[in-house]
Amino acid sequence: MDKLQIATPEIFLLAATCAVLIVGLFAQARSNTVYWLSQLTLVITLGLSLLQIGDESATGLSGAYTMDILSVSLKNWILVIAIGIFLYSRDYIGNRKIARSEYFVLGLFAVSGMMIMTSATHMLTVYLGLELLALSQYAMVALHRDNGEASEAAMKYFVLGALASGMLLYGMSMIYGATGSLNLSVIGDILAGNAQNLTDARTIGARFGLTFLIVGIAFKLGAVPFHMWVPDVYDGAPTSVTMFISTAPKIAAFAMLIRLLVGGLETLNADWQQMLAILSALSMVLGNLVAIAQNNIKRMLAYSTISHVGFLLMGIVGVTSAGYSAAMFYAITYAFTTLAAFGVLLAVSREGFEADQLTDLAGLGRRHALLATVMLLAMISLAGVPPAVGFYAKLTVLESAVNAGFTWLALLGVFTSVVGAFYYLRIIKIMFFDEPVDSTEVSPAGDVTAALALNGLAVIGLGLAPGLVMSACIAAFA
């Protein structure tokens, strides 16, 4: 098999993105040409990626790039979610005189970054994908350039993100020094050969590097205590960008975590297991408690993200393939549930009006029942109440934590999820029990409404048939 073939979707995406970039220069400011071209690009890429389902796993490009069930199914989800993001953002971006072609082009570059992250089996590829994603995101946050808050958020994101990248690179360099390789599978073999000798200089060097890797990953995921950027960036960025940051990149960050820790450093799992358990516990507690105090939905969802990252890490803490599958399921379902929630926020926003305070949703049940129902489903799913899909995500990670002997972490998890249920219920309460304060008609475009309905249906439908997604997650780690 021609080894370049494993990267067909990425190659196409990157080439098409460059073409879209050029078209964007000449497109009229108010036309939707760039939007449609971007969607077309994503759809074709998705088609190419779907064709890879069932192909035999292969590693190529000097061992730097792989195509396996994990990468293919994560890519498919990233692309589906990206299509949703672009669709929900279209009118919002159009109404706000944000540089619209740049939004879509940067989004496409970010998607390529994410796809590279899911396939990377070499530390340099991991870093390449990560930076492609991160740099696009920094720029996206700053797109609203006349807005003070957005610029501040972009600055914070950039400075802290650069610091985290530095940590990550430093950790990688330590591991390179210890093992003499950047290829993750080679590193894994070398460390496994030294597994008995934990005081060996090599192993110590690798463990030292591991600590920095974890810091970098925790930052990208937004786990406590490396979460400081999350609320400010979520709040300051335009809502469509917040939606972008909070959905698909979480799947990519999960992939990076798996590639680095499980693919490369599994021998050191006794070390990273402890670190992740602490990150997980802190994230769940702080995320859920602080979210209660928020009146701004974007900030609230930011803290909610932090708590969900805690749950996701709980799945990996178990160091079992069932746990990894559970965490993968968690990342995917979290991404499309959050997508629905932000989609509703964008649909309620209109020209000159940002729906970002809790009261902006007041009486949505009367103003637009469908949107309110989609939001309701998203909220009960995030709260982990059956039969929404979020329940299975929580159930499976809890199960893997209990199986690994981390019952305390599981108990902490369910306890904090009850705390979390409070603020999700508050949104439901505001939508259905309160009277509307704003009587302006909410009228999202037809295709957006249809997509949101489908998205809500997925949240509840995959709750009734979770096996559809779960079987791929299990196959990825079989």
């Binding site: 069932a322 009960i380 159930l395 599981a410 259905f432 979770p466 096996g467």
Partner: protein, 498 residues
């Protein structure tokens, strides 16, 4: 495989509920009426085709659901679950009748939510897979949350959030226990968990986790405080379903999980459980006496009656220690009959208050007086249900209480004495309310302007009255189907799991 009656009873009302919401307010009532009657008809074969000679699960259905995590779609019923399912489908019909003219604001969502909830509650009573049980158990919270929050009284938001969080907190600990049991036994099948050997410490912690879920749900003193709030603020039908069926999920949980999965821990904790049950019976009885709000009074009366259920369940272990197996069965069956009977009586009481509330818009006892003068037919019903609530012989309220008191007598005079005090307390708070509301001269102008119940309200109350009388004079109609299952349960819990 035979015809999947259980699945149909679960999914028919759920799908009908979705349809009702989707089609909007215009056809909502007729659709809901048709769906509720159809669901009842579908569920009736469960009773008439039931083989009461065996304790084996009947109407079994099984299908793989979540591969890799051993979660199956497994249904089945025994003599403990079946009467509760019939109760659920029957109360659903009553709910539709009660809402027919009363609910003006968004009736489609209201009726749809009740219909969906009915399916979910049938699911709770028929799930044979622990996770499936948990899913149904938790999912019922969402429609009830919306029903109280949208159509409730002035304090509805506080009440509904408290209701949700209280019960959610209780049940997540059960989830961890279920996962732990899966880790031990490698199965989520409830019957598999029954046979799983567990040592003393494991049983103790698992028992506590189940207790957190079911004690809140049923509810036991001192975790009962959500109930009066939820009952008072909920719309009439919401209160009726809450009291008639949702509370029973707690009692059912004790019988399905706590006792068979952790028999030794249940035995060790029996004194504690009996003690707090008696607190509920006696102390809450006094609390009920002091209420000024009729719905609150009935809510406290419910807690007190549920104290009888837990008493009947946990007195069993005292009797097992004495080797009195017939007494054990008496206590457990008493608890079961009490649950069913309370389902009919409490629903009827809440509906009676609802009938008056629809006319006067007050639940305060002080706002009434002499209702019998203007609403004689209604007054007859209300007095009848009140007497049943107080445990008058010949009504269903008497049977369960009497069986539990009898079982208590076999262990300890003082337990029986305290339990029997309910006959006086129950009569006191119920009849005192009747005296102030129904009897006497016409209290005020609003009462003078009352009109008696129409045929809709008449039939709604009459159906319930028939069942209260039927069970009262012929208890075997429900006790008969549960003998074998209760015998089996007694056998199971008398054997140590060490």
């Amino acid at each position: 495989m035979s015809f999947p009656i259980l699945s149909l009873t679960i999914w028919l009302p759920i799908l009908a509920g979705c349809l009702i919401i989707a089609l909007g307010d215009r056809p909502a009532r007729k659709l809901a009426g048709a769906a509720s009657v159809l669901t009842l008809l579908v569920s009736l074969p469960l009773y008439f085709g039931f083989d009461s000679a065996t304790a084996v699960m009947q109407y079994r259905e099984s299908a793989a659901w979540l591969p890799g995590f051993d979660i199956n779609y497994e249904l089945g019923i025994d003599g403990i679950a079946m009467p509760l399912i019939i109760l659920t489908t029957l109360i659903n019909v009553i709910v539709v009748i009660s809402a027919w003219e009363v609910i003006k604001d968004r009736p489609a969502i209201y009726l749809g939510a009740f219909s969906i909830m009915t399916g979910l509650m049938v699911g709770v009573f028929s799930a044979m897979d622990a996770i499936l049980f948990y899913i149904f158990f938790e999912a019922t919270l969402i429609p009830m949350f919306l029903i109280i929050g949208i159509w409730g009284g002035p304090q509805r938001v506080y009440a509904t959030v408290k209701f949700f969080l209280y019960t959610f907190l209780g049940s997540v600990f059960m989830l961890i226990a279920l996962i732990y049991l899966y880790r031990q036994g490698g199965t989520f099948s409830i019957l598999g968990m029954h046979d799983l050997p567990l040592d003393k410490d494991q049983q103790f912690w698992i028992f506590l986790a189940f207790l957190a879920a079911f004690a809140v749900k049923i509810p036991m003193w001192p975790v009962h405080t959500w109930l009066p709030d939820a009952h008072v603020e909920a719309p009439t039908a919401g209160s009726a379903v809450l009291a008639a069926i949702m509370l029973k999920m707690g009692g059912y949980g004790f019988l399905r999980f706590s006792l068979p999965v952790t028999p030794d821990a249940s035995g060790q904790m029996d004194s504690f459980m009996i003690a707090i049950s008696l607190v509920a019976v006696v102390y809450i009885g006094f609390v009920a006496l002091a209420q000024r709000d009729m719905k609150k009074l009935i809510a406290y009366s419910s807690i007190s009656h549920m104290g009888f259920v837990t008493l009947g369940i946990f007195i069993a272990f005292r009797l097992i220690a004495k080797g009195d197996e017939s007494g054990v069965a008496l206590g457990l069956e008493g608890a079961m009959v009490q649950m069913i009977s309370h389902g009919f009586i409490s629903a009827a009481m809440f509906l009676c208050v609802g009938v008056m509330y629809d006319r006067v818009h007050s639940r305060e006892i002080a706002d009434y007086g002499g209702v019998i003068n203007t609403m004689p037919i209604f007054a007859a019903f209300m007095v009848f249900f009140a007497l049943a609530n107080a445990g008058l012989p010949g009504t269903s309220g008497f049977v369960g209480e009497f069986m539990v008191i009898l079982a208590s007598f076999k262990t300890n005079f003082w337990i029986a004495f305290l339990a029997a005090s309910t006959l006086i307390l129950g009569a006191a708070y119920t009849l005192w309310m009747i005296k102030r509301v129904i009897m006497g001269p016409v209290g005020n102008d609003k009462v003078a302007a009352l009109t008696d119940i129409d045929s809709r309200e008449f039939w709604m109350l009459a159906i319930l009255a028939i069942f209260v009388l039927l069970i009262g004079v012929w208890p075997d109609v429900i006790a008969g189907v549960m003998h074998a299952s209760v015998e089996n349960l007694v056998q199971h819990i008398s054997t140590s799991k060490y």
